[in-house]
Symmetry: C2
Subunit: 323 residues, 2 copies
């Protein structure tokens, strides 16, 4: 049975995983999920990326939206607003609240996030082993201009505030995964990487999703040193993010929004293969010049079938570079 490890963020990673499961239903898939966008809201621990993977693969996701629960209602949120308790910009529905209540209760009882995630997945049966990148708290903060400060003053806001409230509409000067340096990989993460036959980077955000996973000391080294080939899929197609606002945070780390620039950002020390979209076929030579075998294939996750084809292409490239 093929052992596949996938580093995943939220929506993009979750949809890719659905395609991957469809392409290789018998594979043993371990997902190392980003927890840098976790946030405490209303005293509850919210893990947006883990939940998006769990709900998507478990059949509970709001399909059109890509995050949150299907058939959602918002009574709790309305009541919290009536109490004057915010933030109002983060859309937590009633069903979703239950997940955060269970998680917060278990964490309060002393269970690590990895054990909590396993318990939640016992209900959702995502068909993959979902591991948080770390049981330690890591919170991605974004440095933005401080409109209330002196000229040139900056302030840090939580990634969710930058992403959801501000819709990445202000310049991001730096992306800081607070706590990452002190974080340890969650139990099973390094073991899964070491035992993998293939390691995949889905078309997730290379900075705030996969970049944050790699920022946990030990994970980047394990991936770079793994015997398995590491193949990534470009989240940038034709100079723009396939979805989301990856270009905004790429700018913050000085990386161009091109399929080739993202490949070079990961680098040949990490990547053994890279897929770009057919519209970026011209970038193949540039990526290969950087020492990374590259192919151009359709990379739009329009449906599960198209996504499964992408996953199959990634696995094929992995086989090719292994040989």
């Amino acid at each position: 049975m093929q052992r596949i490890v996938v580093l995943a963020g939220g929506i993009g990673g979750a949809r890719f995983l659905r395609g991957l499961k469809s392409a290789v239903p018998d594979a043993d898939i371990t997902v190392i999920g980003n927890t840098g966008d976790d946030i405490h809201l209303f005293g509850l621990k919210v893990c947006p990326d883990l939940d998006t993977v769990m709900y998507t693969l478990g059949g509970g996701i709001h399909e059109e939206q890509g995050w949150g629960r299907a058939g959602e209602s918002f009574a709790v949120k309305e009541e919290l607003a009536a109490y004057g308790v915010g933030p109002e910009w983060f859309g937590l529905g009633d069903r979703d609240f239950a997940t955060h209540i269970v998680r917060t209760q278990m964490l309060g009882a002393g269970y690590p996030l990895s054990a909590v995630t396993e318990a939640l997945c016992a209900r959702w049966q995502p068909g993959v082993r979902l591991l948080p990148m770390s049981d330690d708290r890591v919170e991605t903060h974004v440095m933005i201009d401080d409109p209330d400060g002196e000229d040139g003053a900056r302030k840090a806001v939580h990634f969710q505030e930058y992403w959801v409230r501000l819709r990445a509409g202000v310049p991001a000067h730096a992306i800081v995964p607070v706590g990452a340096e002190q974080a340890k990989p969650a139990p099973g993460v390094l073991e899964a990487v070491a035992a993998a036959d293939v390691i995949l980077f889905p078309p997730s955000n290379p900075v705030v999703s996969i970049g944050t996973v790699l920022a946990v000391p030990g994970i980047r080294e394990a991936v770079a040193g793994a015997s398995a080939p590491v193949v990534g899929l470009s989240p940038i197609v034709g100079g723009s993010p396939v979805r989301g606002m990856a270009d905004k945070v790429l700018a913050a780390v000085g990386v161009e929004s091109t399929a080739a620039a993202v490949a070079r950002h990961y680098g040949s020390g990490l990547l053994d293969g890279w897929l770009v979209d057919t519209v970026d076929a011209g970038a193949v030579a540039e990526v290969e010049a950087a020492g990374i075998p590259c192919r151009s294939v359709p990379l739009m996750m329009t449906d599960t079938q198209a996504t499964a084809a992408m996953a199959a292409q990634a696995l094929a490239l992995a086989e090719e570079v292994r040989a």
Copy 2:
């Protein structure tokens, strides 16, 4: 302005308070609420009696039910059940959950329950000053037979488990307000009692509601020593509780379910007056023989008008005994 202090439990106390406000709309009313039935559910702090008073006086109560919110939905509870997380026997609705989320978040941030209650009441505007009896944790436990133990073995269950799950359907051998001995009256409680013109015991449960309030060291003494007359209304009419299952817990403390026995249970050291229902007119002499002035008046809280009349009778008796 007449200063009235009311010791209150849940539904009975809340409905009495609505009548009292209607009878004397200009009075300055302080409610000392029972917190012995507070319970931690799903990691959240739930204060059923405080909330019943707050929702009833603030216009948010589920009228027929007497507790919980009007227009309630149950998405969170259904989801928790889907996770296998209980208890399922405690009916928390989505709107109600928001109250407990706000409360738990504030307590976690270091605010005492009294400050949290004040903050919640800023929304509900109950028209009374609602104080928890104590900021310290007190939990009423009930000793019942342990069906899994040896013959005669007993076990303690939380009051809510006895009351809601078991519906007081098994013998209660003792009622224990765990933590009461170490609890301190909340800020403002003793001051309100000392400054009161009248102190009222509504037809609340004399054991697990008013009895628990009085079990906080200092409160019984303050009420007994107050210059204000203390007048109570019998929760027992014609040998049965007006509502609820007060007879079950009265038995546990060795008190008969009669209007006179409850008056003697409080005693003339505490009570300066007692109202029994007209059907219990025969008990007036017995109560007065115990040194407690007593009148028989209609005590069924069928609507706000009838309840206002009861409150007016209690205030009239207070005036009479003061003279």
